[in-house]
Every structure is written in C-alpha cells, then in structure tokens.
Symmetry: none
C-alpha cells in the first residue's frame, strides 16, 4: 500500500485502535495430535473474538519468506519491510535499549578466534560467557578514533554492539565478517565514496581492538557487520494521523515502535502489567501497540506445551482489552514460530479484527485453519493498518 495514498485520505477522528501482537503467533500441528499450538490451547476469549470479528491470515513479507522481528513488526505497523529496511546494527542497538541517536553508526559485533597466521578458527570465540563478553567490552570502550565517541556494549555470549558517535559518519561499510573459517577477517571497506572516512575510522578501531585482545584467546579478534544508522521512517502521526503508543516489555519492540514515532510507555514485566498500563493511559492515545513475547520465546525453545501455556496466558488479557471498548481491536502476530521448527518461519499468521463495521465471517475459532477460511482470506500484513483506519472511520473516500 502506498503510504502517500493513505496520508492523502486520513481524516481526524477520536476513535481508538488496539493492536495486540502475539509474537511468533502461528504454529504447526504436533505430529502426535495433529493440532497446532493454537488448536491445542484453551483460548476461550480469542475464540470468542474470532467468532465476533473478521478473520484472516497475514503474510508478513512474502510467500515463503521468514521475517525477523524488524520486518514482521514494520509490516503490521503499515510499512513495507522491503522498502523500509532496518540494519542489523540498529536492531542490535534497539534490542539492548541503547539510546541511539541520529548521528550514530551502529554495528553488530562478534568476538572471534584467529590463529597465529591471523586466520579465523571460530567465528564465535567458543561462545564465551556474557560476563566475559562484558569484561572484554570494557577493555575496548576507551578506544577513541579522533573526533568519535565510542560505545562497546555487551549483548549476549560472543555478541556485542558497537556504536560510533560523531558528525559525518556514513552508512555503506561492508561487513568485516567473511562468514567462513580459514581466512582472515576482512577490512572495513567503503561501498560508496562518502563512506571512505568512516571506513578508515572503523579500521583504526579494529586494529587497536586486535592489539588489546591479542592475549585474550579465544576472544582475540572481532568481526563487525550490519553497519547502519537510524532509518528515517515516516512517523505514524504523519502518515496515519495516529497518536500512537507502544506497550512492550522487551527493548527490541520498544525500539521498533520508536522508529515509527510511537510513544513508548513505561510498563512492568508481565502481560497483566501491560494491560494495566493500557488502562491507565487509555485516554492519552489513538493507537496502542501491545506486545506479548513469551509465545515466540517458547516456540524458539521448541517447547510445544510451553507455547500452548503462553497462548493461554495472553488469552487472559483479551476480556480486559475488550472492556475498554476500543473502536477497533486487532490481534495478530509478526510471524509464525512453530515449536516444531524452533525458530521463526514463513507460514502466514492468524489475524482477527473486530469493529462495528466488520462484515462477519464464519470463522469461529482463533487458529490457523479457522482464520484461513475467514473473510479476509490470506493478505499482506501491510494492509492491517489501512484496514484498521477504515474500520476506525479514519479514511475518507478515494476519488469522487
């Protein structure tokens, strides 16, 4: 959907929209029972919502494409994830709640192992502990290429975040990770002329890091990838005319919401805390993105029963949201995370929208088979936001 078209059609209204994102929502049937996580779970309230509302299956990026968290959420927020790309460095920064600024250049780092000849023998330095990682990051923190402020933040195990802060830093630096063993790390190479100065600064940092890590085997070198700056996405207030708020426990999702201009609301550590935050701030916003993570985590663990339990947990907040009487209430997912795959997958994702203006369909349950037969059919996730605006009577007619 063309954002310029939507921007042209948006009208003011005081209607309210809630989008509950159940991360990694879709699943696959257990070979033992033939039932998916959603089919196995007792999700009474979601089923009732499906019966009342209009169901379908969203395709986050394209048929066969497995989305990361970034593209999966951007699509639900109405942004074509193929057009609006968020670099890995920036995602890593969002993921640890780093206060990224517009002049910052972010990269994802790995500690790795090189041999005496300088050839890579382990791209993950034997997966050192997060504590070791933090200590090593402290060792690198005060490297300061001239004119640049530097941040080296531990993430998890061998992974860290590199931020260079300063004026004139450019994107367009190729990864230094050759993605294979037995070869040396690559130099940071400028992919465009305007990135040459930045590449030089990165290479200075790498050289000094190598010196300081020389006796830290197995973590005696670093690899950097996903050099990226804050992506300039049009804000939801500008494109959709929405005063939007995000309620999410994990930093990554708060960060993605910030990219599109949502106000991130402080909340607690449970889905009940998120519901309480939604209630407290109900009057202050038009649009609420509420994020629930556990379904994805348990799916990634490959733990079918635990994903079922997580679905039942999030089901419990549905009545509380409905009590607020949003004009439009939608439940969907950023992608599927089938326990059988123990990771994200390309499968379409169940979706339901409920409003006064939904043409009812015959979908009676909130699961993959029922939603697929729903009135919305299988459709691009980028259409979720326009559909919400239409149902919230926030779009005027196109053409006379």
């Amino acid at each position: 959907m063309d954002l310029d078209l939507i921007r042209e059609l948006v009208v003011k209204s005081d209607t309210k929209i809630v989008l509950l994102v159940i991360d990694g929502l879709g699943g696959l049937p257990s070979p033992d029972t033939g039932r998916s996580e959603l089919e196995a779970a007792d999700t009474f309230h979601l089923d009732r919502l499906a019966a009342d509302g209009l169901c379908g299956m969203t395709v986050p990026v394209g048929i066969g494409i497995t989305p990361g968290s970034g593209p999966g959420h951007l699509a639900l927020f109405g942004y074509d994830p193929l057009q609006y790309r968020v670099g890995r460095g920036v995602l890593e920064a969002l993921g640890i709640d780093f206060d990224l600024r517009r002049e910052d250049l972010a990269a994802r780092g790995n500690f790795c192992t090189i041999d005496d000849a300088g050839l890579i023998t382990d791209r993950r330095a034997g997966r050192i502990s997060t504590d070791t990682c933090a200590a090593l990051c402290r060792d690198l923190k005060d490297i300061s290429p001239p004119g640049i402020e530097l941040f080296v933040e531990p993430v998890r195990e061998h992974r860290f975040l590199l931020i260079m802060r300063g004026s004139g830093l450019a994107e367009g630096i190729a990864d230094t990770d050759p993605q294979q063993l037995g070869v040396p790390p690559l130099a940071a190479r400028a992919e465009r002329p305007e990135a040459q100065d930045t590449a030089r600064l990165v290479n200075e940092f790498i050289a000094e890091a190598r010196r300081r890590l020389a006796d830290k085997h197995p973590a005696n070198m670093i690899l950097l990838r996903g050099f990226s700056k804050w992506p300039e996405l049009p804000h939801m207030s500008d494109v959709f005319g929405l005063k939007a708020a995000a309620i999410a426990i994990y930093p990554m999702y708060r960060g993605l919401a910030k990219l599109v201009g949502m106000t991130v609301l402080p909340t607690g550590s449970t889905i009940q805390d998120e519901l309480a935050t939604l209630k407290e701030r109900w009057r202050d916003f038009d649009f609420f993105f509420v994020h629930y993570k556990t379904t994805d985590s348990r799916g990634e663990d490959g733990d079918f029963a635990a994903k079922v339990a997580a679905l039942e947990e999030v089901d419990g907040v549905v009545p509380g949201i409905r009590e607020l009487a949003p004009d439009v209430f939608m439940v969907g997912g950023d992608h599927s995370t089938p326990s059988l795959i123990a990771g994200h997958s390309w499968h379409p994702v169940p979706f339901v929208i409920s409003s006064r203006w939904c043409r009812p369909d015959r979908a009676e349950n909130f699961d993959e088979n029922s939603c697929r037969a729903g009135g919305l059919g299988t459709f691009p996730a980028t259409a979720v936001l326009p559909l919400a605006l239409a149902n919230a009577r926030r779009l005027t007619k196109f053409g006379a």
Copy 2:
C-alpha cells in the same frame, strides 16, 4: 495488471461480453436479522447465475480504501485507479453531461459566504437552493477573461461547475477552498511554472465573480477546487481490442465510459429501458457495460429495505441478458454501499462471471458470504477485464 501485457496478448474474436455493474452492490448485515441486503433480497436469477458461474469478491482500489465512483468504475474497466486519476472538476463535468473537450479546464465550484472582512463564514452558503444556484450561475456566465470561453453550470444546491475553454490552459492550479472557516479564500496558485498564465486567468475570474456576488449574501463568494483537464486514458479498443458500448442512465457513468473510449448508447430511464437498448444494439458491439444506479442511491439513503427492493429490481433483468447468450456475462459492483453506513465503503464487492470456460465452484448464492467462498476468492477489480477477455477467448498465450 500491466495494460501493455494485455495489449500484446489480445486477439480478434467475435465473442460478446456483458458487464452488469450494480452500483454500491456490497452491503453489511442488518443488526436485527444478521442478513445483508443481498442475503435479504429475493434475487433468484442472480443466485442461479452464481450457482452456474464462478464467484469471488473484488477489491476496487486496495484493502481499507473506500472508492469514489470514478476509481470504482475505472478498476472494473481494467484501469488501475491509482495510476489513472480523474480530477474532481472533470468528474463534475461528466456528472452533468457537460460536453467536455480536450482543451477545457474544469473545476468544481461552491458558492460560499464571506463576512465584511472577507473571511469565510459558510463554505456552502447555507446550501442555497438549486434554483438560486442556477440564477447565480447565469450572473457569472458572461465573465470572459481575454481569449477564454467560459461556462458556469449549476450542479445542485451550492455546487456548480466552472469550465474555461481556450488554448494553453494548464492543470496544476491549487484549490482556492481553504477547507476551513474564519480565513479568506485562497488565491488560485500555480503549482507548476506552466500553469502561471492559467492561474492569472482564474484569479481574474474570481475577482470579477466576487464583485458581481457582493450583494448576493449568503452566496457572496466562490471557492474552486479539483482543477483538471480531460485525462488521456488509453481506449478499450486500443488496449483490449473491444468495441465497447455503455448503457447508463446517469451522466457520471456515461462520462466515465467515454473516458475509456466506449460508445455511449442513448437509453431510457429504467433498467428495463437499458435491457431494451442492449437487445437493440446487441449486434453492434463486443462489450457492453450496463449500469444500475438505484442500489447505491438507496444504500446512501441508509434505507435497507429500499436497497433490497432495488436488488430485486435489477435481478429481474438477468434472464433477459442471459437470453442473449453472451459468451461472458459478469455481474459486479464498483464498491460497496452498505445501508448501515449510508455511504460508500471499503468492503470487497460480490462478483460473478459466467462462461463456458469457468471452472465451477461451490458458491450457490449471490451474496457476500457465498461469493467470498467462491472460486475466485478475493481479488483486485482490475483483473475483471483480463479475466473476461480470457473467458471470451480473446487473449493468446504469454510466452512460448
């Protein structure tokens, strides 16, 4: 659909296609009965057509987008309404059957009220009567900026049509309607350099109109918008190889048909007259667009029962059309106009195609739920024409 591709594949044939457009066809269920207008109506012949044919739901512009009559029809005629835009001024001219020429610049006008300070106090001049509007239009008719022929035609209540005829008139004039009260009307501003002369002429007209209207309170000023010229759309004969005719009672739809090069056939004032015209001219054309308006009008009135009655009326001509044995017979709508909304809406529109070559589906009734479960699923309205051509054996193979 890429028109160049279709043009490349079109082959000659003597097959005949009928497209019956039931304006504002789609609806929403009545809260009392749970049945939509189509479900409530006794549409025996349309139901039989659905049972014999292949059903689906068309999306006129995009998910969540409510189309005006222009985009809704262009899509059914095979033209992407986002690519081919028709200005409001041109649509207003088409709507009153004004004989628009290629050199004409059209704008939609409102009589409005300004106070002594020149600030707008009512954008619609208290909705003056159509008779008053006609008298005021006569007062403005003989204003003649040098080199320009001028037409000022009453439309309805405070609305009128302004046509400037002359060589070198350009599009790209911004609206003079500021769309708010308490501010003065805007001057006509050129949005491109080549429109500067035109803007000057428009401003001369506005200045003189203001003088002449000074004592005509509440209609003491005018606002103009949607400045546009005849849009150059490829004709159906050129793109689709069709000798196409339009049978429509209302000027707007005859006008839209003219834009794509259809021959507009004179007809009477009822759907039975339209059927008679179709029969009389059956030998002369390959493609017939037959338009039925009452469903949309009664939907816009919010009159559920009257929309049901209109559906039953148009159902009555279906056997007469089938008796002609068109190779392809299609029934669809330009958009939905649910009585509950009392206006156009974004909901997909029921559609049926019947030909020797349709793969039958399980849709047994012509209504929203049945068509949604039909063999065509939910698909873009711009695919209707290519589908018709295929079923009429008027498209050759793509690629060897």
